[in-house]
């Protein structure tokens, strides 16, 4: 099958590559660009481990083709940290609130939560839970992930984070 030339912006840098039409975006990101922070979990559009930000949308990069991302602007976990290399508010929240155990779901969780907070800077707990309903975590039971996102929201909003009583 003839290969197609694609160009897109990933984490602020212009990238290009030759792909078969059937190459999934996640494979292009991991194998052509060697950005392996984006994980392949279920491969069936359920788990959200492959979530990246594409033109202002959270998308499961295992469920679209690289050719469809031609000309788009993508962010992966490698592009999340602050410009000076310090942790972003969400990364810090996951660290401080113990929002991960094995860490496999974390890149997708953080990319999804970042878009959620951009659309809704002060989400309720219910809105956070619905907002990450396309991302599975098999370790934490989600409680600390929700806290991590609340921590980040408060930090971005300049509010002191108070952990809710359990």
């Amino acid at each position: 099958m003839a290969k197609t030339h694609v160009t897109m912006k990933v984490n602020g840098a212009e990238v290009e590559g030759l792909v078969e039409p059937r190459t999934l975006l996640v494979h292009f990101i991991r194998e052509n660009l060697s950005l392996t922070g984006t994980h392949i979990g279920c491969e069936t559009t359920h788990c959200g481990a492959c979530t990246v930000d594409l033109d202002g949308m959270s998308v499961k990069s295992c469920t679209m083709f690289a050719v469809q991302a031609q000309g788009s602007d993508i962010m992966t976990i490698e592009g999340v940290a602050n410009a000076d290399g310090t942790l972003s508010a969400l990364q810090e929240g996951f660290r401080m609130m113990h929002g991960l155990q094995c860490g496999f779901c974390t890149p997708g969780m953080i990319l999804r939560a970042q878009r959620l907070l951009q659309e809704n800077p002060s989400p309720t707990e219910a809105e956070i839970r619905m907002g990450i309903s396309g991302n599975f975590c098999r370790c934490t039971g989600y409680q600390n992930i929700v806290k991590a996102i609340q921590y980040a929201a408060d930090k971005i909003n300049g509010v002191e984070f108070k952990e809710a009583a359990e």
Binding site: M1, P21, R22, H46, S58, V59, T63, V67, M130, I132
Partner: protein
């Protein structure tokens, strides 16, 4: 999992898309949001030789008004429907239903056109379209035609779409102000297809039901309009005996598949409960 090889086409107009589809024949499939088709391709349950990506066509997105109707472009995503204040105000049941489809990531990509055109009995929008009296615009090489949603579904994954045709717009008559509505969906977990679901749109006058339409999702190989059940509630105040009668009338036309979501009797039983709950909630919202 890697799909089988295919050629990728990205036409810029509906006419070009239709021409490609009709020229390439059975081995070509239109690609909308891709959240039904791409997973099937990864499992090699679908192996099209050509994909016609509809994302390059301007004008297939958006929501507009046209003589008392709300016209929605087929490539409008569920996320865009949810973001529309106009839809939330004029067609709140569409907002409520879109929110129950899959998860946020899927809703950013999944389109209303793909949802209604795929013919999957598990999809939520088809039964809602029957309930709302929607019409679909189909474009083919011989020109365009309109078809009622109620005449579109012929079997699981079988629709009135002819080879080479694509669905371009959905046209919904604007419900009257003060109507009551509810979409009740029982599912095993967030993001799942319905074990059973019911859509209700009704109007009330003097404490009694003046008009009513009921649609059923995933309780037959096609979406269903529960006409007898709707007729059973018109003129009543939705007392317990009437609700029971309506649920029984709806259950009488259900023939769900037995699958991981439960055996036939269970799914019919909960289907009746969805009808009862949707009627009650819709009546509570009507003014």
């Amino acid at each position: 999992m890697i799909p089988g090889p295919f050629s990728y086409h990205r036409p810029a107009t509906v006419a070009d898309a239709v021409k490609l589809l009709s020229t390439l024949g059975d081995e070509a499939r239109p690609l909308a949001g891709g959240h039904s088709l791409v997973p099937m391709m990864k499992l090699r349950l679908a192996t099209p030789e050509h994909l016609i990506d509809l994302h390059g066509i301007d004008g297939l997105k958006g929501i507009r008004r046209e003589a008392g109707r709300i016209v929605i472009g087929a490539m409008t995503t569920q996320h865009e429907l949810l973001a529309s204040d106009d839809i939330a105000k004029s067609l709140p049941i569409l907002h409520e239903t879109a929110l129950l489809i899959a998860d946020p990531q899927v809703r950013y990509r999944g389109t209303i056109g793909g949802n209604v055109a795929n013919g999957d009995p598990g999809n939520d929008m088809p039964a809602l379209m029957l309930t709302l009296g929607a019409r679909y615009r189909l474009e083919g090489t011989a020109g365009g035609r309109d078809i009622a949603a109620s005449e579109f579904y012929q079997g699981a994954y079988f629709t009135a779409l002819e080879p080479g045709e694509i669905l371009t717009f959905i046209s919904i008559p604007e419900p009257v102000a003060g109507h009551g509505y509810a979409y009740e969906k029982l599912k095993r977990k967030v993001g799942d297809y319905a074990t059973a679901a019911a859509a209700v749109v009704l109007t009330m006058a003097g404490g009694k039901v003046a008009s009513c339409a009921i649609g059923l999702t995933n309780l037959h190989e096609t979406p269903l309009l529960a006409v007898d059940a709707a007729n059973a509630v018109i003129g009543t105040s939705l007392d317990a005996a009437t609700l029971k009668k309506a649920a029984a009338a709806a259950e009488a036309i259900m023939s769900p598949a037995a699958d991981a979501r439960g055996p036939v009797e269970y799914r019919k039983h909960v289907g009746g409960i969805m009808v009862t709950r949707a009627l009650t909630r819709a009546a509570g919202r009507a003014s």
